[in-house]
């Protein structure tokens, strides 16, 4: 009975070769094994979005992903959006600070990841599109308005271009 598999994946651009239980949650691998504690556990059930990361560019709840399904995957966590040696934060990160989109901060990594996923696909979303894209991320502090305004501010900072809508 194999309790561990060999999984090769990259996290924030760094390659990892891990002997790990394939059923270990990606969330736990990130936090406990790799020390990337920016990704949070809010519910462990995929309801709150605090654990959101990008896997091959797609928004996922890391509490629901067994690492055994991530052979060759490229994972991006909040730490990967603006590395410590980056000259500046991404527009969405700056906007969250300027618009009061964070209070206690526990939802913030997941919110920023989800907002980033939206803006990658739809650089100029409507408010309705922002609400839909962030519907899987819960915040107990801000009442969401500051978060939506941060996304709108980040969108205004993006150059105008052909918008590809998620929904035709």
């Amino acid at each position: 009975m194999a309790a561990s598999d060999r999984i090769k994946l990259s996290v924030n651009g760094t390659a990892h070769d891990l002997e790990v239980d394939p059923l270990a949650r990606l969330l736990d691998v990130l936090r406990e094994r790799l020390g990337l504690t920016g990704t949070k556990e809010g519910c462990g059930e995929g309801e709150c979005g605090a654990c959101a990361v990008l896997v091959d560019g797609a928004l996922l709840n890391s509490c629901l992903v067994p690492v055994g399904q991530l052979h060759g995957a490229a994972v991006t966590t909040i730490e990967g959006l603006a590395p410590a040696d980056a000259a500046r934060l991404l527009p969405i990160q700056e906007a969250m600070l300027l618009e009061g989109g964070a209070q206690c901060g526990i939802c913030t990594p997941g919110m920023v990841i989800a907002a980033h996923a939206l803006l990658q696909r739809n650089p100029h979303p409507s408010l309705e599109e922002i609400r839909e894209a962030l519907a899987g991320n819960l915040c107990r502090c801000t009442g969401y308005v500051g978060i939506y305004e941060a996304v709108q501010r980040a969108a205004r900072a993006a150059p105008p271009e052909n918008v590809s809508r998620r929904w035709a």
């Binding site: 928004l59 055994g68 035709a168």
Partner: protein, 291 residues
């Protein structure tokens, strides 16, 4: 049924098959109960709750054979691993099966939709699931595969009781076929009633497809969730409605027929009385709002 106390991750086995054939062989192996694992949005929650007895997970995620969407003149065939996102972003499905697209868009949120699959939604067999009413309304058929061969069954009636279904233990759901609807999209109606538009389990969910000839109901099929131990096809109501003209339709009588077909309960999300009332309301919205 809960896992034995102290059953940690070592109680489960995990195998990643090379291809569908190997997956089917794993499903037929007798040692530890094989459980197909797709996107994991249901199974990981059960594991976290320690509500899954020891089993052998068969990882379906790499099986590209189960991901194809094949559009044909008479039907569309979707692989069981088609995710909600793939459904929602597919322009032909948007145009032809709008109810399935609406269902996919209101299941969870983006992070769930990127991993949740149609096959997983069907085989998890929740009576409150969001895509089944649309699948019922579109007359879906399921392909079940095993080492012994493949067979197609109607999705309506596939679930026989709460979380029970017409599936042999070694069978895997591989494809879902949707006949091309005869009714134009103006005859399609879907509404999920719940506490919010995302990350919510429905109190009542209704999907209906009606082909109207003028003001006459030529053909109708309806699926409902959260009003019975399984997803429900409202056959008696459809029989009552077929051939009737909108102007002559006794809505109260139609509601009464539907009320006889549903068997909702009181639970943490809603009451039987509310569900009966809202199911009837959704039927009326469907009948008065489609053409």
């Amino acid at each position: 049924m809960t896992a034995p106390a102290g059953a940690g991750p070592q109680a489960y086995r995990w195998t990643r098959p090379r291809d569908l054939q190997e997956a089917l062989e794993l499903m037929a192996a007798g040692d530890l109960r094989p459980v197909p694992f797709a996107g994991g949005t249901d199974l990981m929650v059960l594991m976290q709750m320690r509500a899954l007895p020891p089993c052998h997970f068969v990882d379906l995620w790499p099986l590209t054979e189960l991901r194809r969407i094949a559009v044909r003149p008479d039907e569309t065939v979707l692989g069981a691993l088609t995710t909600y996102t793939e459904v929602a972003e597919h322009s032909y499905l948007q145009a032809t099966y709008p109810l399935l697209v609406q269902a996919a868009r209101c299941s969870g949120g983006w992070a769930i939709q990127n991993r949740g699959t149609l096959g997983g939604n069907i085989m998890n067999a929740s009576p409150a699931a969001d895509t089944p009413p649309a699948l019922i309304a579109y007359g879906a058929r399921l392909e079940l595969a095993s080492v012994r061969g493949r067979r197609w069954v109607p999705y309506s009636g596939f679930h026989t009781d709460y979380k029970r279904m017409r599936r042999e233990p070694d069978e895997l759901l591989t494809r879902i076929a949707l006949p091309t609807p005869l009714a134009p999209p103006s005859g399609h109606f879907y509404r999920k009633v719940g506490p919010r538009r995302a990350q919510a389990i429905s109190k009542v969910c209704f999907a209906g497809v009606a082909r109207w000839e003028g003001d006459r109901v030529a053909q109708v099929r309806m699926g409902l969730a959260s009003v019975a131990p399984t997803v429900l096809e409202a056959r008696e109501t459809a029989d009552f409605l077929a051939g009737r003209r909108r102007g002559e339709l006794d809505l109260a009588a139609a509601r009464a027929v539907l009320d006889r077909e549903v068997s909702p309960i009181d639970d943490i999300r809603s009451t039987a009385a509310y569900r009966r009332r809202v199911a009837g309301n959704l039927l009326e919205q469907f009948l008065t709002g489609t053409s």
